[in-house]
């Protein structure tokens, strides 16, 4: 086989992504068709910026989903003669039925850069959104009462939040994401606190809504508690007997640190929004009919703060992706073999001035995902401000 020209690389690369293109076309066709019925999500398709951002984001989401079908080689396997191979290089003595090229070249360990990039998307999209969700639940659960009650509680929580925010992120990572820390079990304590928040959040959410109807309340809150605590034991302490919920200690550490860094930002936003919304008459109406404070916070205030929160959520996934990349860039946390983009950039930068492709490919991938998220957030903000 001959090496591919740039046109060849593009054509073959494009073809490899066929499941993604198909899924994208379907998503857009359906969404645009029914956009008038889809509230804010539908309005997104009125904004060019939002649509471009959404396309970028969904491209990577589908890539992560169909990664198994897209990759051309095993991202961990090294093929002889392919060390630092240039993009489009033909595989020397390919095995029967294997893909004949390294589409985007090989890295310094002779692994396929293309496949590592595709698998990297899966790594990144596994952690970043989940960590952001947890950061949001934590930030919301603490930000609501801080903004609503004010006073000492607010002073105390705000002090804590500012404490974390004043910590240079990179220092925090160097202190928290080390094998020594895993040894001491500190991440587990953090996780024990952190993973409790979703359980608290959802039980309080349902309890405040259904307490006038005890049987239904007991059913809903009971279900949340059973599933929540089961997952809690598994994720935080690795004590799930069935093994459905478990997390690698290294990954747990990274996860917890990222949530920890993000939660205070969410806290501040939620607190500000609550202070604004709590002066509305419908909150007073809730109070005058004797609603409890948590019902008012969770059902009267929170749904009406959703606009800015959704926008921030998109931005924050991008930020989290950057943070994860930073961790990888410094070789912290995740395993060295991992194809995640940050670590790959770190691997590639040693030979950057001679063979830039190994670092450039994941760098551009990460950039396009974060750019997509930013554009999406911008589109959402613009559309939610309209009318």
């Amino acid at each position: 086989m001959d090496d591919l020209s740039w046109t060849g690389i593009f054509t073959h690369g494009f073809i490899r992504f066929w499941p993604v293109w198909l899924a994208l076309v379907l998503t857009f066709a359906v969404s645009i068709r029914y956009r008038r019925r889809l509230a804010l999500y539908g309005k997104l398709f009125d904004s060019t910026v939002g649509m471009i951002g959404f396309a970028f984001v969904m491209f990577w989401v589908f890539t992560a989903l169909f990664a198994g079908m897209i990759i051309t080689h095993d991202p961990l396997v090294q093929l002889s003669g392919m060390k630092n191979a240039l993009p489009g290089a033909a595989v020397k003595s390919p095995a029967e039925g294997s893909y004949p090229w390294y589409l985007l070249g090989g890295d310094n360990l002779a692994r396929d850069v293309f496949s590592r990039m595709v698998m990297g998307a899966r790594e990144v999209l596994k952690i970043a959104p989940a960590a952001t969700v947890f950061a949001f639940i934590m930030g919301i659960t603490l930000g609501l009462p801080a903004g609503y009650f004010g006073g000492r509680l607010d002073t105390f929580l705000s002090f804590l939040a500012n404490l974390v925010l004043a910590f240079p992120v990179i220092l925090l990572f160097y202190l928290l994401v080390t094998p020594e820390i895993v040894e001491t079990g500190i991440p587990m304590y953090f996780a024990a606190v952190l993973f409790l928040f979703p359980v608290i959040f959802f039980s309080v959410l349902l309890n405040s809504r259904f307490h006038p109807n005890p049987p239904r309340r007991n059913l809903y809150v009971g279900a949340v508690l059973v599933i929540g605590l089961w997952a809690y034991l598994g994720l935080a302490f690795n004590l799930d007997p069935t093994g459905v919920f478990a997390m690698d200690p290294n990954l747990l550490n990274v996860f917890v640190s990222v949530v920890f860094v993000n939660a205070p930002g969410v806290f501040r936003i939620v607190r500000g929004l609550v202070m604004d919304i709590k002066a509305r008459d419908y909150v007073a109406a809730g109070q005058t009919r004797g609603e409890g404070p948590w019902y008012i916070m969770l059902w009267e205030i929170l749904p009406n703060a959703r606009g800015p929160l959704i926008v921030d959520f998109c931005l924050r996934i991008g930020y989290t992706t950057i943070l994860l990349g930073t961790l990888g860039f410094f070789g912290l946390g995740v395993s060295p073999e991992s194809p995640d983009w940050g670590s790959t950039i770190d691997d590639g930068r040693k030979l950057l001035s001679i063979y830039p492709h190994a670092a450039l490919v994941p760098a551009l991938a990460l950039m396009s995902l974060v750019l997509g998220l930013n554009l999406l957030a911008d589109g959402l903000r613009e559309e939610s401000l309209r009318d």
Partner: protein, 693 residues
């Protein structure tokens, strides 16, 4: 511009059409609008929100924003067409020839610039004046708008001034270049009534002094009557009637104008004998206007096949001066016939006392200084409040901002607990029971209707769901179906279609939202309802309907209504007894007749005089209060009203400065908190007189 003939109109708007362009469609905001303003004339532009009156003003300034465009017609100012002017030409006219005054004084002043600099800018731009000279002129104009201590004012930032002072600065800014035309867009809506009265007087006087023509935009007919010579009534983007104030007020020739006047509470209206007549239906949305006459679907004189066929032009009404009406049938209608729909009702006797307050006090501790640390101060929000309310009675609580009426509502509802005193609700003492400790039964019996219709409903919950939630909380019904049915009944009660149950609040108009708010308050069969300015944010024609609804429900259920308001017209119309509050004190209390007739408390007297009344037969004595309402943080010593009282000199020995006046009973339960002797009180003249018909 020098060769302009002063006998020609200053402003001539001809067949003006304005549209806003959105992504989906073109929304016509103003259609075929014409009006003429002569030199020194004050023209009123009246209509409900969304009728396009502010758009006309902005079009004159040629400041319609990115989406707005003039699609037809001309605006001639001193004979020159503004719609064809370049930006540079416009810039020379803006501020020097035409000036504008806006609704929100705080928002219209630059927060980061000293008042002096903002004022001096105008002559510096237009007359090339030097800075020192411009500041000297600014000082003179500031004195002209009757602001005390002009030097200090010029050196202050806008936030250091009160709302009334800010509005005076905005007026001063408009007058800096002695413009030929002044546009005032709801200049007093954000202000308290007594402050408003001062501003209105000032505007009138300055208009006369400088010979300025005015375009005065307002939703308040009374205010327009006070200020203007001519008016133009707008409805849904069109002028429907225009003419001299006297002609239009006394001999209106358009059904909308007539309906508008019938729906506002003028002296003589009475909730039982002569109830208001609300305009049926709703204001059409700009893109859902009917064919033919826009007012057709709501008009009593509507004739299918005639009114809904083609666009209707303005036609001249021969009697009167330049009096025009956009109605095909104006010459056929008998304008003097009494309204057919008026049904007078029986007055219902009051029941037993359901609510009694004894010497209620509510103090707050407030720390001064923006960042804490300063000394704490006690704010006396309510002082020795005592009254009782009977079943089926309407008690109005009247006062301007900061008088403590909202605090009083909070204490009654249990959102705050009283500092001292007693509240007897039915047969329970609730003064120190916060709402969390009250039983569902007590809570559901005392409910509240809120002021702002756009704020009263949770925007992300359906209307039905919100009512059902109230039912759930009050423990009403045994099953979801029960509550569902009850919710639908409640929608019937407030005269909303049942289909509204599944709507989101944003799909409802202001009046409809307010109805849902009322339904929610009555969900648990409330016996006492606190209505905090329930109609003040609504358009005039909707106000009557919502007020009527409240009265109907009250009549049926024997509800006790505590009606908080600053609007004395509506209070006079619907209340049985009135309580006037000032800075946390009840200064006067009595039946409606007692309070609205002399002897008055000096504050009540000023308040009555300040409220504009849209009836040319009514003459008012003008009493303009000097100064601002003192802050509740820092009340004056002695009588709270002494800083603004015009009767103060009648009390010997400076008693007002030193001592809080006692509560005195003037007979038949009429209480006044004043030092004035009975002899002096008896000499008081009525503020409002209605000329005999």
């Amino acid at each position: 511009m020098e060769n302009w003939d002063p006998t020609k109109p200053i402003l001539e708007i001809e067949n003006l059409s304005i549209s806003f362009f959105t992504r989906l469609r073109e929304i016509p905001a103003v259609m075929d609008f014409s009006c003429t303003v002569m030199a020194g004339e004050a023209m009123g532009l009246v209509g409900e929100s969304g009728c396009g009156k502010s758009t006309v003003a902005l079009a004159v300034m040629r400041d319609l924003g990115k989406n707005g465009r003039i699609t037809g017609g001309s605006i001639r100012f001193k004979g020159r067409d503004l719609t064809r002017m370049s930006d540079e030409e416009l810039r020379h006219i803006r501020g020097s020839e035409i000036a504008m005054i806006y609704q929100e004084p705080m928002a219209s002043l630059n927060p980061a610039m000293k008042v002096g600099a903002q004022l001096a800018e105008v002559p510096m731009i237009h007359q090339g004046m030097g800075r020192a000279q411009a500041l000297a002129l600014a000082r003179q104009i500031v004195a002209d708008v009757r602001l005390p201590d002009p030097d200090r004012i010029l050196q202050s930032y806008p936030h250091q001034l009160s709302g009334g002072q800010q509005q005076r600065i905005v007026i001063a800014m408009a007058l800096m270049a002695k413009p030929a035309l002044l546009i005032l867009d709801e200049p007093t809506t954000a202000l308290d009534v007594t402050v408003e009265a001062g501003i209105v007087d000032l505007v009138k006087e300055l208009g006369r002094k400088y010979g300025t023509s005015m375009l005065f935009i307002s939703h308040n007919l009374g205010l327009v009557l006070d200020v203007c010579d001519r008016l133009c009534v707008m409805y849904s983007g069109e002028a429907v009637e225009t003419g001299k104030i006297e002609d239009v007020f006394a001999h209106m020739r358009h059904p909308y104008t007539q309906a508008l006047f019938r729906s506002i509470p003028l002296p003589g209206a009475d909730k039982n004998a002569r109830p208001l007549i609300s305009i049926p239906g709703n204001f059409p949305l700009p893109h859902e206007r009917p064919k033919g006459c826009n007012f057709g679907p709501r008009c009593d004189y509507f004739e299918t096949g005639r009114c809904n066929v083609t666009a209707i032009p303005m036609s001249t009404v021969p009697e009167g001066d330049r009096h025009e009406s956009r109605c095909l049938k104006w010459s056929e209608i008998d304008w003097d016939a009494p309204p057919a729909a008026r049904i007078s009702r029986e007055k219902r006797p009051f029941g037993p006392v359901v609510l009694r307050m004894d010497d209620l006090k509510k103090y707050y501790n407030v720390s001064t200084g923006a960042f804490g640390g300063g000394a704490t101060k006690v704010v006396k929000a309510n002082e020795t409040l005592s009254f009782e309310a009977r079943e089926g009675e309407t008690l109005a609580i009247v006062g301007e901002s900061g008088c403590g009426k909202s605090t009083f509502a909070k204490v009654l509802m249990g959102l705050e607990t009283a500092t001292a005193g007693q509240i007897m609700l039915f047969d329970e003492n609730v003064q120190s029971t916060p709402i969390q400790k009250r039983g569902a039964d007590t809570i559901s019996k005392v409910q509240m209707v809120f002021q702002n219709p756009f704020d009263t409903l949770n925007p992300s919950m359906t209307v039905g769901r919100q009512i059902i939630r109230a039912l759930e909380i009050f423990g009403w019904g045994d099953s979801d179906t029960d509550r569902e049915n009850r919710m639908l009944e409640l929608l019937d009660l407030v005269k909303l279609p049942r289909a509204f149950a599944d709507r989101m609040p944003r799909q409802l108009s202001g009046g409809q939202k307010q109805r849902v708010g009322i339904a929610r308050a009555f969900a648990g069969g409330a016996k006492v309802v606190v209505a905090d300015e329930p109609v003040s944010a609504l358009d005039v024609s909707v106000q009557a309907a919502v007020t009527d609804l409240l009265m109907d429900i009250q009549r049926e259920n024997g509800t006790t209504l505590l009606f908080i308001s600053h609007d004395l017209s509506i209070v006079r119309y619907l209340s049985d007894r009135v309580m006037v509050m000032y800075l946390g004190h009840v200064v006067e209390m009595g039946t409606t007749d007692q309070v609205f007739a002399p002897p008055y408390h000096p504050y009540t007297e000023a308040l009555l005089s300040a409220v504009p009344i849209a009836d040319p037969r009514v003459t008012r004595e003008r009493i303009v209060l000097e100064g601002e309402i003192p802050s509740a943080m820092n009340p004056p010593p002695g009588c709270p009203f002494q800083t603004r009282c015009r009767w103060k000199s009648q009390v010997p020995g400076g008693l007002c400065d030193r001592e809080m006046p006692p509560v005195r009973d003037l007979g038949a339960g009429h209480q006044v908190k004043c030092h004035l002797t009975a002899q002096i009180l008896d000499t008081m003249q009525p503020v409002i007189r209605i000329a005999a018909e």
